[in-house]
Symmetry: D2
Subunit: 337 residues, 4 copies
């Protein structure tokens, strides 16, 4: 069985395993208070070109989102998201479990637009309604699309005008920033966002994400929140070591670019054979449409996620490439098609 | 600097690193739904001699406690603990953050006694007070002591009589079950407890715990809770692989016994030199008493946790051994003393 | 200024004031444990024709909703509502503040349909999503429409088939059950619903609602929840006395019918003058459409709630009648029109 | 049966009933946005001699405490209280249900001392523990004692030095400020406290409390919190009218003083007959000690709350006077003794 199911089906990039083995016998302090975490944070700050940001290492995506959002909102404040947003659909109500409503609006290509935020602000007029206070967005989005710099700038402007924090879920940030058509530099992020996380799990790590807090108002006492929500990893250095390895050169982005390249080959190969797509996505997730028979045939050899059939009878499937995808995997799929 | 600071200052036992490297290129399904997790759970069930229990792999201790307790209690129900209990002191209010009060009572050697539970039940007489519903205890306790089988049996009886769940935090369960004086077999646990977790982080893992749910009333929909609280690890197999490695033979308990042995040598060496202890602990944590001057001297070479001075001026310090402790570490400390 | 702003702008029906004055010097036990509360509950049970239900007196609508829903759902379970539902819009995230997501769907005339529930159940397929567990509906709805018996029966059937509780917010239950076109008897409710509340505040009480719990699974320990959420009123009898007065004869329903009659006169009078309505509502709330100029003119003499203009430029306004509305109020409005 | 059970066993002072009857046919806006609430707030501000405070009318004590504390604390912050504090014991975990730990310490005469707060601050040293942020105290205390001005001043100083808010539960504030030995003026409160509430329910109201927020940092968006927690009373004026009536002259304090006087007669009468007390309390609650036989005898005619027997076999009972207590009640009790 060849896996196009997710970008977390294999272990970690070999340099990660080597780094863990190499440092295994060091003794360090726990809870992200060690030299590896410190060094990893310094490397990230350097690549961001911003020495003022706070960086916290986190153990996974959902716990990052729920810890951050509950840290920053007062009890009656709400997050805003597109209806395909991860916090809306696939976190089992994790944000609501911390007490906060998630206001959602229909996305266009998985993305939210400034006028939707303005409308939400207008509608939430008094204390009988929640107060919209944080914009949640993902890049790449949940359906593999990416934001442009001008889109993010416009969102930032409407957020600032309405006193709304702008937070990016970067579970696939590497893929977004190395996708065809991306015009956002890593160094742009701190100027555009109040906070974001750099996803490791889906880009060749064993696990781990790095939360970057830009807005000083969001920094205070954040470690209390990490501990309270269960994310204060005892052997915190494990995440620090992985970020250190990925950011001491360009490995993080090289891996993402290579993964995007495999997805691109798959996408163009499928397109050449005359198939269409549910959405145009330039990143490591693609969504071709096949007949149910073709899907059943493909499922014999490939492991992937099929969606419910569209009205025209075609079935969208999600194919995901990862650091562990090979040229042979791609060739095989195209050949079988 | 030699570390007696904690049992999570080094990486993982070399067999863990090897197992991760060996399986690195396998592709598996995520979220603990892979063959390694399944196999690890089967090994644990086998060693417990109970095929009926549910086993969930968890990423850390605090998140295990908060997920479990909030899954099992209704909003007005409370946990009961000794005042040194981890959930009382060192989890930044994680249980309260899920909405539940933790009722606490003074411990004797870090342990709760049946009559304290009866008293709590008596005092909480109506709907103007919370309803005590879950007994939280740790073995080893936070001060390194262990429960005997008769103590646990007596607690179980009073819990059952009062419809209270009995849950054990087993962050250091390996150390407890291999400590001098322990009379509890691993196979006894399912008869004594409604649920407990088998700690990995503090016994040679990179990270990870295994929650064992015995009482059928506590099993339903538990994976929803794991996901909601942020513990649904994408590469879940990482924890499965570690438990597989530790439980395919007796490594888990061998490591714990060896660790206890080093702590025992340290303890007896210190005692022979005429020092006394804050508490008698047979496990991998010991608490000798020194003068402030002696503590300052020791701190030059050894990294450990000092407490506030006692009334007699002596300072208790916590020395912790781990799988990574060596004979040289122990000899060195005793020599410097 | 004449008030059509709400059904809670005046005090209480004079019989309520008299009853409070008459009983003022009695000494009773607190917290709804007095003879008046007991008697009031007996009267309600009698009128429902069901002696098995639990009845709890509550101080207001939002606190009833949040106490009930948080009592009945496990942490990962969600409520389902139309998007105009009170819990969705006008409770400042009260349900989410107790940890639960509210899944919402577009309403048709303010009402939810069985196929929408089936679709939600289908979409929420595993532990990565919340579990839909309670249907929240209001009768009358937030836009003054009413459910028919066959609509409620169909909803009940789909709820039962999917193990979903059905809960009715009866803030305006009196108005619903006495509206033109209603075919639901008060005695039908216990066969259709798992729980509901009988609204007092908006039907001539000073304050107070009566929560009726039909499903035995929802009854346990409910008073703990009332206390914890702050609804355990010390002088609980105040609410008991009001329900006693309203249900010792048919006052509750007579008042509602009379209120509906005034709203009906207003509605037909406005219709006769050639105006149309945002929605056809047979209850005590009506929503006529006027030009902005007309609205500004009416606002000089009448206090009501105007909505945002429609695309055709007309402005819907909400006119609400109450027990305190008079024939003069209605005549005056129609005359000024 | 004569009631010494509580200060909320009868209805309301006749002037309250009259005021409600007199204003019954007025139409006003809801949710505390009417002229009576505005006037009542103005009267309270005037009597406090501080025009800068925010005043919010609340429906009961527990909902005031939980709304206020959850509004003012960040998720990892805790309240501090004596172990007899109402929020510790008799609110069914209401504060914890909003996510916050209540740290408690043994009281002396029901009161907390500055050095206890200093100790708590010292012990809560880092992000592995909650952060003490709000001091909760009651005046009168739960056992009827009162704070002196110098005690409150000392507490205020230690709170300010440690950045801790000081909040007073004034369920029986009237009784405290008119008790023998009290040296705190009503006008002193805004200089001593960050916030407090003026209790109505236990001082002759039907229901209702007035929360006074002094510290500007605690004022923002408080009405959102009231609404979210279910305290946004539709006919809010009911509470405003009652405070208006009580504060348009000195009725609030006159009633409290009269109530204290009856309790004082009872206390001195009991003392003269040779009985002793569990605690010396100058307010409307007294706690005499009787033999079990005497308690059983008294229970035939009087309704009061007995505690568990002391070690010496004597049983403390709680006798509470209220606005509805009469000279005959007191005489009768003393006679029967």
């Amino acid at each position: 069985m060849i896996f196009f199911r997710s970008d977390y089906s294999a272990g970690a990039h070999p340099r990660i395993i080597e780094a863990l083995a190499r440092t295994n016998y060091e003794h360090t302090d726990g809870y992200f208070m060690d030299a590896h975490c410190e060094h990893a944070a310094a490397l990230i700050r350097e690549k961001l070109g911003d020495s003022s940001v706070d960086i916290h290492f986190m153990v996974g995506g959902t716990i990052t989102n729920l810890t951050a959002i509950s840290a920053w909102l007062r009890p009656y404040q709400a997050a805003v998201s597109v209806d395909t947003g991860h916090i809306c659909v696939h976190e089992t109500g994790a944000i609501e479990a911390t007490g906060h409503k998630v206001i959602h609006v229909p996305g266009k290509d998985g993305k939210i637009r400034p006028e939707q935020i303005e409308r939400i602000v207008e509608e939430h007029e008094d204390e009988h309604m929640v107060q919209p206070k944080l914009l949640y967005l993902s890049n790449t989005t949940e359906i593999g699309t990416i934001y442009t710099k001008s889109e993010l700038t416009a969102l930032r402007d409407v957020c600032r005008a309405n006193n709304i924090y702008m937070y990016m879920d970067g579970a696939r940030l590497g893929s977004a920033l190395t996708a065809e058509g991306n015009d956002i530099a890593f160094t742009d992020l701190t100027g555009l966002l109040d906070a974001f996380y750099i996803g490791g799990t889906k880009n060749g790590f064993l696990m781990g994400e790095a939360l970057v807090i830009v807005n000083p108002a969001l920094k205070e006492d954040f470690r209390f929140m990490i501990k309270q929500r269960g994310g204060m990893f005892a052997k915190g250095r494990l995440i620090g070591i992985q970020f250190e390895e990925m950011f001491r050169d360009n490995l993080y982005f090289d891996l993402a670019a290579e993964t995007n390249a495999y997805a691109g080959k798959l996408r163009e190969g499928i397109r050449e054979k005359g198939y269409s797509f549910m959405v145009e996505s330039p990143s490591n997730q693609i969504f071709p449409l096949f007949t149910p028979e073709k899907v059943r045939e493909l499922e014999k050899k490939y492991f992937f996620y099929p969606y419910l059939p569209l009205d025209n009878g075609l079935v969208p499937i999600r194919l995901v490439c990862s650091w562990a995808t090979t040229q042979e995997d791609v060739d095989s799929f195209l050949q079988v098609l």
